[in-house]
Amino acid sequence: MFVAHNGGRTILPPTKEVVLMRRDQSSAEVLDSGTSSTGLRKTPTGISGIDELTGGGLPQGRSTLVCGPAGCGKTLLAMEFLVRGFRNFDEPGVFLSFEETIDDLVTNFVSLGFDLTGAEDAGQLVIDHINVGRGEPNASGDWDLDGLFLRLAAAIDTIGAKRVAIDTLENLFGAFPNAATLRSEMHRLFGWLKERGVTSLITAERGDGTLTRHGIEEYVSDCVIALDNRVIEQASTRLLRILKYRGSAHGTNEYPFFIGQAGVSVLPITSHDLSYPVSTERISTGVASLDAMLGDQGPFKGSMVLVGGGPGTGKSALVASLCEATCQRGKRAMYFSFEESPEEILRNTRSVGLHLARWVDEGLLELHCFRASLLGLEEHLFKIKELVARYDPAVVVKDPVSSLLGFGTSAEIAFLLTRQIDFLKARGITCVFTTLTDAFDVGAAQQKLASLADTWITIRHETADGTSERLLQVVKSRGMAHSNAIGALGISAQGLEITTRAGAAALTG
């Protein structure tokens, strides 16, 4: 009989069998992993980019190791895996922390809009913190980690967890004197997690020249993701790479990712494999003389048109006339403005002979106006995605995208825009972005944007003989013969008109 003394806590003799995996079962773990080449089941992370790179998510019911240097976003990734799990897939999760306390985690994740306390109350999440910060405990003789297993098992059973994140398991190595025992216990833990059928994500700190400090990768054979944090062109850039994914094809490059207001976003450069439905159809810019400069027909449907220029060069008027032409064809257009209100847009474009209000009334035009500072980059992307998916426009205008600069590093903005363009082009939507350029001094993000553009038009002011002239130039226009002329852009109550200087109007490839 177990006898309770001192305080009346009655301990009954154990009648249930021990729920932990016994040591002799752990050897079975090695055997069955070769059968997964077909029909490997995956658990979607819900984290943008990662599911694309892994072809559907992490190996279901297995462990994935996420390793990287300090401050590279491991904890965030681990927590987001759980949060997306219960939010998007109705899969409760357990977060086992060896580092941050529960209070710290709760506080830190509020800024990302993750209400961890609420999730715990709703039975979607259990956070347990194991304090290994006491220093090395005194030890005498034989021990194991059954206490840890019990805690984890209890947490999993409480909410029926399907996902487990452990951050950072290797901290145990600092807490115990006997590394050999610890190693065998780690081995047992991974076997046990597998037996429980939970999909787990284990984080580990990068070692000196090794993937992890204590070689924990040798226990995780299914999937290994490496994160890094490097300074590229004076900008700190986070990078993600799938090092290993047994039984599954995966992207092998390093992919930039950023941590936005809504969590981790990985940008697979080759998202959608650049396999857009390519159209040979052309759309009118609404300015006949500009269409003439663009191979006589205007830009391709589903391409990306960038209009760059200084303040007051007529960028907004140009894109408004493209909207007008789109609506005249009976197609829908969506106009995002970061500087003007809907009323201002309608009034100002009326002065150049455009009557956009009637298209709004007819439901062919939607104007969405908000300050770029209103939303985080990731939210911005998400909002536009949502609106576009609902409205299904033929043309999306963003005026000006340069407003987004200053709300992230140029690398982040370039990623954001690349992804947005990918999304729009994949749907055959023509994207028309304006950008405020200061003469020819273009920043990194703008340069990136210009290289992404299929058609790049610049407008600049030139003063001569006491008057000022707007000069429009088609810098590039892929896939068509376009004019190399520099035309004078006239804006009047009748609309926009480009007059090219005599003799200069040749079409070039």
Partner: protein, 121 residues
Amino acid sequence: MSDPPPGREIDLAVPTTDSQEMEASVSENWSFSLYIAGPSPKSTRAAANLRQLCETHVPGRYTIEVVDLVQDPSIARTEDIFAVPTLIRRSPQPMCRVIGDLADADDMVGDLLGFEPTPMG
């Protein structure tokens, strides 16, 4: 490793004095909580070793509480136990923790638990 047959009893010394009587520091009471996970050989050894140590060093002046975490895993969380067996010395203060089945030599473990060295072995 195999489990002992179910229902096997673990003998523990029942203290003769009540722990409330904490008078003089000379006759200070020793209070231990031993956290185990089921009736494994390690658990049995830890309990037996602890009892023997107490009998040797502080006979009649100790209490031992054995807590089986399998019966109530939530205790593992509240007491922050992850390795087993874990022994917590609750008194005398300060509290201290020792993990393992206490299988080292008597004077070594006794030292960890804070017992005075015994004059005779």
